[in-house]
Every structure is written in structure tokens, then in C-alpha cells.
């Protein structure tokens, strides 16, 4: 079946467990992240051109792709490192505004985080990835609210964002 003609029904596939590793460059203030499937995530500092990348932290996380159960179309979400719930901390942030746009029902904005955190290379999560994630999370939702997945390039400020990452952050505070 041609993917364009299919009324897709998405399922999660290629689920990988690993670590979301964050790095920062002291020189330019740039930030990036990557997903490591190694048992112990790398923490080495290294040079890359003018950058000197240093380890900033790592959290257990999950990566996945989505596939249509009808036509088999696979959406590779390699460029999505994590999802983050927008807490509407800044009403002027484009993410917060987009969450409220045209929503007749309660709408929850989740930001898809790409590896190029400060977008120094200009890349972000693909348009198809964003579109399909929205379809995936809303297709079987029964609670009456909507999920709106947005690309992280829309965030007003990486440093001032109070979003909640869907990773195992702070989970050692169990007892």
C-alpha cells in the first residue's frame, strides 16, 4: 500500500534503552546531546574544530521509532533525543503560545528535543517526525485532551526553560 493513501495507525517500534548524554562547549556556550546505548555513557572531554565539548550530565532514557501497522511505513526518529513537557513557564515562549493556538480542548505541549540543543548547526527534528509523533500520541487518546508535539527550535530559551524532561531525572530521590 502506498504510504500516502494509508490512514496510518502508528505503533512504537525499535525501542532502545540507553542514556541521554548532554555536553557543553566552554568556548561558545553551545550545547548538544546524544543518545548512548553503551552500558556506561561516555564522559570524555574532546575537541571538535573550535569547540571543546565537556560532559554536563546523563540520564537514563528511551529512544524509539514509529511504524504504521497497516502499511508498514517506518518513521525514523533518530533526530529525537527526548521529549519534554512544556510547563508554560514563559507566556512569550513560542512553544507556550503554540500550545494555546486554536485549541478548543485542553492541550499539552511536548517538545521533541533534537541533538543540536542550541541549534548552532541549524538542524532540528524533521517535520515528518513532528507530524507523525502528533498522530501517534493523539490517535488512541481517550482523556479528552490533546497532545501537541513541537520541535525544540521553537523554544525561546534553552537556559530559562522549566520544561519537564521525560527521562530518569531526579529519580534517585526515591526515599
Amino acid at each position: 500500500m502506498n504510504g500516502k493513501e494509508c490512514d496510518h495507525e502508528w505503533e512504537m517500534t525499535n525501542v532502545r534503552n540507553g542514556y541521554l548524554v548532554m555536553e557543553g562547549c566552554f568556548g561558545c556556550g553551545g550545547r548538544l546531546s546524544f543518545f548512548s546505548e553503551e552500558p556506561v555513557p561516555p564522559q570524555d572531554d574532546y575537541r571538535e574544530g573550535d569547540h571543546f565539548w565537556s560532559f554536563r550530565g546523563s540520564f537514563q532514557a528511551t529512544k524509539f521509532d514509529i511504524r504504521c501497522t497497516k502499511c508498514g511505513h517506518l518513521v525514523n526518529l533518530q533526530d529525537v533525543n527526548a521529549l519534554m513537557l512544556c510547563t508554560n513557564c514563559d507566556p512569550d515562549c513560542p512553544v507556550s503560545k503554540a500550545a494555546k493556538e486554536g485549541a478548543e480542548v485542553a492541550c499539552w505541549a511536548y517538545v521533541a528535543i533534537c541533538p543540536d540543543t542550541t541549534h548552532d548547526k541549524g538542524s532540528c527534528v524533521s517535520d515528518e517526525g513532528i507530524r507523525r509523533l502528533n498522530e501517534y500520541y493523539n490517535q488512541r487518546r481517550s482523556s479528552g485532551s490533546l497532545i501537541k508535539v513541537l520541535p525544540c527550535r521553537m523554544r525561546k530559551s534553552v537556559d530559562q526553560c522549566h520544561g519537564i524532561y521525560l527521562a530518569d531525572i531526579g529519580l534517585t530521590e526515591l526515599y
Binding site: 512504537m12 525501542v15 534503552n17 537514563q60 532514557a61 528511551t62 524509539f64 521529549l83 513537557l85 485542553a106 499539552w108 511536548y110 500520541y137 488512541r140 487518546r141 481517550s142 482523556s143 479528552g144 485532551s145 497532545i147 519537564i164 524532561y165 521525560l166 527521562a167 530518569d168 531525572i169 531526579g170 529519580l171 530521590e173 526515591l174
Partner: protein, 108 residues
């Protein structure tokens, strides 16, 4: 089976007042990175009272969350869950005791 029925039969403590939802299945996990694989309508059993858990539970559309071993969520966690329409419940016993009880009630 509805969440309210399970709450009554298992003598759960309610931390908030949310819409009653149908339970499709039960999922037990303490890792947010694992919970994002959960199916919609799951009754989530966990020890974890962190805000991240509610953020993940909302995304995957759980029917409710039960904290075992007498764990109690903080006010901001309860508020976030209430906004999301997710019922939060507490159970004094351990997770295994709760799992047995849920099975006895009829959840599969």
C-alpha cells in the same frame, strides 16, 4: 473496570478528585524511561512520586496512578496530575501485595 471500583475494592487513598476512567491493563514500573512504552488506559503502579512521572503518564494517557508503600506525592505533583485529569492514589502495602490484590479484584 473503572478506577473508582478498583479504588474502593483495594482500599486506596485518593490524593485528588479526577474523572473516572476505564482501566485497560496494569503496568508496574519506577522508571520514566520505561513508562513511555506503556499502553493507553493502563493503571500505573509505581514508587515514584516525581513530577517527571506525571509528565510521562499524561503523554501515554494512563487511567490512573497508584503509589505503593505509602508513598505520597507533593502538592505540585498533585496539581499537575489534576490538571491532566489523572487520578493519584496511595496504597500502604508493598507493590507485590498490591499486584496480588489487583489480580484478585479481576484486573488482567
Amino acid at each position: 473496570m473503572k478506577v473508582s471500583e478498583v479504588a474502593k475494592k483495594a482500599s486506596l487513598k485518593a490524593f485528588n478528585d479526577c474523572p473516572d476512567k476505564e482501566i485497560q491493563t496494569v503496568y508496574i514500573s519506577d522508571m520514566v524511561s520505561d513508562i513511555i512504552n506503556t499502553k493507553e488506559g493502563s493503571l500505573l503502579v509505581t514508587l515514584q512520586t516525581h513530577k517527571n512521572l506525571v509528565a510521562a503518564a499524561n503523554l501515554v494517557d494512563v487511567s490512573a496512578v497508584i503509589f505503593s508503600r505509602g508513598k505520597e506525592p507533593s502538592t505540585d505533583v498533585i496539581e499537575l496530575a489534576e490538571k491532566a485529569g489523572i487520578g493519584l492514589y496511595g496504597f500502604d502495602g508493598d507493590t507485590w501485595s498490591l499486584a496480588k490484590k489487583l489480580y484478585e479484584i479481576g484486573l488482567r
